[in-house]
């Protein structure tokens, strides 16, 4: 098997599964229970939080354990909107966000909020100047993703953060699900108030994630109850999930430190081969994230291509897995102004540190074969 759909989800690391299982067995107590078992479990949860905080270079009380990216994005966006609506009801986001940001923003329109969706250029990049021009007196939130899930485009988060530091009342949310462990992001320097991360994109488990909430940022909670997680996410904590997230985060950060060039080399190899391959068009920007490469093979239905490669044990995807249930063109590719023919035939290759150069070579050969077979049929 050659698994190249790591932006949809990754293969869980065995040691992460082990940590989840051990924690579940040994630290099953409710961390809020007063007895010794509860105390030990609470201590472990706290240690997980501390570890996550130090890896993300933030403070432990700024870490909220969530069930993943979608939850983090919803807590952040709706939480800001509901908490600060008396200050204004205008939200700014971009045309290439993940549905969990996009839909969360638009859901607020029925409550009287207005959403400005910023355009992107042909590489999927939003421009700081557009953000600046969209800001109004009643703007309370700007939500921009760090790395686009379909194209790998890196948004100018630090520049936007710098701009937003001139608007101290405005909150800045960043969906960093795709960039975690792969593209550096300095939360402090980028003046980010809220930042979502997901566990299963970094060889962790589904149902785990982190939302960073700056300690000066107040949110209206979506879940009320026992006041867990600083009152932002009531409900008995998923301690095993949090611990496994802590470990997955540590492992990916270690890889990020030592193996970034490995990702980049595989990426550059693919780029060079695909660029020269007949009938293939690369949609990703060259200076994008090192783990995502989007391409189109016009005239060949992407589903057919996926199944063909699947037969050879190679797994890639069409647009983002979360949107692929809707038919038609990729919203992201369309937003970049790509013609419909390209936008409906997008294929995404997404890498992990665990992929090898040899797999890249085999993939290139298989893709070439597949295209060749089609050409025979179509002629």
């Amino acid at each position: 098997m050659i698994y190249l759909d790591n932006s949809a989800t990754t293969i869980p690391d065995p040691s992460v599964i082990e940590s989840f299982q051990k924690t579940t067995e040994k630290f099953f107590a409710n961390p809020s229970s007063i007895h010794q078992l509860g105390g030990a479990t609470e201590k472990l949860l706290h240690a997980a939080k501390q570890q996550a905080a130090s890896l993300l270079q933030v403070e432990p009380n700024e870490i909220i354990f969530t069930s993943g990216g979608t939850e983090g994005n919803n807590i952040a966006i709706k939480g800001i909107a509901l908490e600060h609506q008396n200050r204004g009801k205008h939200i700014i986001t971009t045309a290439t966000e993940h549905p969990s940001v996009d839909e969360a923003c638009h859901s607020l329109e029925s409550l009287g909020f207005e959403v400005t969706v910023l355009p992107v250029d042909e590489e999927g990049r939003v421009h700081v100047n557009d953000v600046k021009e969209a800001i109004r007196n009643d703007t309370i939130l700007v939500s921009v993703m760090h790395v686009n899930n379909e194209l790998g485009t890196i948004q100018p988060i630090e520049e936007i953060g710098k701009l937003l530091s001139n608007y101290p009342k405005l909150y800045f949310h960043v969906d960093a699900v795709q960039s975690l462990g792969k593209v550096p992001l300095d939360i402090q320097r980028s003046r980010i108030d809220l930042c979502s991360f997901s566990g299963h994109k970094i060889h962790g488990l589904k149902g785990t994630g982190i939302l960073y909430v700056n300690k000066q940022t107040s949110l209206f909670p979506l879940f009320h109850g026992g006041g867990q997680e600083n009152g932002l996410r009531s409900g008995t904590e998923n301690v095993a999930g949090a611990v496994s997230m802590g470990r997955a985060l540590r492992l990916i950060k270690e890889k990020q430190q030592n193996e970034t060039s490995h990702l980049q080399l595989m990426h550059d190899f693919l780029w060079e081969k695909l660029e020269n391959m007949d009938g293939v068009q690369i949609n990703s920007p060259k200076n994008g994230a090192p783990h995502i490469l989007n391409l189109s093979v016009p005239r060949i239905k992407p589903e057919v291509m996926i199944h063909m490669l699947g037969k050879k044990g190679i797994y890639i995807s069409t647009k983002s897995a979360c949107s692929s249930k809707e038919k038609d063109e990729s919203k992201v590719l369309a937003a970049c102004g790509l013609p419909r023919e390209i936008a409906v035939s997008g294929l995404r290759i997404s890498l992990s540190y665990n992929n090898t150069q040899e797999e890249m070579e085999r993939f290139v050969v298989s893709l070439e074969e597949a295209i060749h077979e089609f050409k025979e049929v179509l002629r």
Binding site: Q36, A47, A48
Partner: protein, 398 residues
């Protein structure tokens, strides 16, 4: 162009006459310890100034650490360039661009009199250079957003912009050692912090009464200590097993005096630890009039058992001021965690607010507490809390 220096200014240390050398020495050592993780960063002294040479490290995390080191009045990011007008121009422009400002002022100072341009002349040359090469910036000599200081010294020229305020005070360690009675509440960590600010190196003592107080209460004290370590060096915490003695007190001493007696026993044990550890004073979070044990009569009665100086940094503060500091030093959220501590259990129904020395002495004379006091002292567990002391307990899971 990256900032390559952090300029450190000492505050009141400059007033310390002949001792100044040892104070500066201590500050330099404290900074070096704090910045150990930044392998290339160096703390240097030249001609009455202290610098952190960044040598490629990002300045922000280093500044954050420096801001917690006592003895620093303020700090600034600085460029160091050769005494060459073109290089100075370039660095000045860079400093302006990095500052979050719209209006500026240049203040040049020529120490090296061989440098061909005078201070006034420099102000003009540099001001003009900045205006020509930027947009949207204006000069404001009275209330600028940022004042860019250019100092031409013999060895080099330093260009700094913003002044970042430091923690003030005196370098930790220059005022000797004190033993902090650390309960886990809001007051005692603040008292410890304020003592540290005056250069005191702390050790801490905590009275632990399992099963009346839990593992969480003990952990809380270690977590609080860790926050204090952020402002100084590592701190030894002496955990005293207090259950037996406490039970004995509440059995033998009438209810209204039990609290007073308990505090006296704590002071006795604390003094014994001081003797063992060569510590010359106690520090407490006591504050006049807050609770029963903190009336003038109470202090008078409790203090009878030791002739060691007791430093009470909070004695004249309002509760609100103490809370403000605890929030500032990040101990508040830990302090308010609702675990029982040795002062909240066994609370008598009506503690004496005006206890008397003669009465308590008579009561305590009826029972020999010494064996239990000695047992408590013998059972002390000492824990070193360092900036690094990370939990290793869960390593197999995390």
């Amino acid at each position: 162009m990256q900032y390559d220096h952090i300029l450190i200014r000492y505050g009141e240390m400059a007033l310390k006459g002949k001792n100044i050398r040892s104070f500066i020495q201590a500050l330099q050592e404290n900074l070096q310890v704090k910045l150990k993780d930044f392998q290339n960063a160096k703390v240097k002294r030249t001609q009455g100034r202290m610098f952190v040479l960044l040598n490629g490290h990002e300045p922000e995390p280093i500044i954050e650490i420096c801001r917690k080191v006592f003895g620093i009045h303020s700090l600034s990011l600085a460029f160091k360039v050769e005494n060459d007008i073109e290089k100075i121009k370039e660095a000045t422009l860079e400093a302006l661009k990095k500052a979050n400002a719209r209006t500026f002022k240049v203040a040049a100072k020529r120490v090296d009199k061989n440098f061909p341009y005078g201070s006034q002349e420099m102000n003009q040359i540099l001001g003009e250079h900045l205006l020509v090469n930027t947009e949207d910036y204006t000069v404001d000599v009275h209330e600028p957003d940022v004042e860019i200081k250019v100092e031409v010294r013999l060895e080099a020229t330093y260009i700094t912009s913003e002044n970042i305020s430091g923690a003030g005070g005196l370098p930790v360690g220059t005022a000797g050692k004190s033993l902090l009675l650390l309960s886990g509440g809001i007051d005692s960590p603040v008292a410890g912090y304020l003592a540290m600010k005056r250069g005191v190196q702390l050790e801490a003592i905590h009275f632990h009464s399992p099963p009346y107080t839990s593992e969480r209460a003990r952990q809380k004290v270690l977590d609080l200590t860790k926050k204090l370590v952020g402002y100084g060096k590592s701190i030894k915490v002496h955990i005293v097993p207090f259950t037996k003695l406490q039970q004995e007190i509440f059995r033998e001493i009438p209810d209204s005096y039990a609290m007073t007696s308990m505090r006296r026993m704590m002071f006795k044990i604390a003094e014994a630890v001081c003797k063992q550890e060569n510590i010359l004073s106690l520090t407490t979070g006591e504050n006049l009039g807050q609770v029963a044990s903190q009336t003038m009569e109470s202090m008078h009665t409790i203090n009878e058992v030791t002739n060691y100086p007791v430093i009470r940094p909070l004695v004249a503060m309002d509760k609100a001021e103490v809370v403000d500091i605890s929030k500032e030093i990040d101990t508040y959220d830990i302090s308010i965690l609702p675990y029982e501590d040795c002062c909240t259990i066994f609370v008598p129904k009506s503690p004496k607010t005006k206890p008397r020395r003669d009465k308590i002495n008579a009561m305590e004379a009826r029972h020999d507490f010494r064996p239990s006091i000695e047992e408590a002292i013998a059972g002390i567990e000492t824990i070193h809390v360092t900036a690094k002391s990370k939990e290793t307990e869960f390593e197999d899971l995390l």
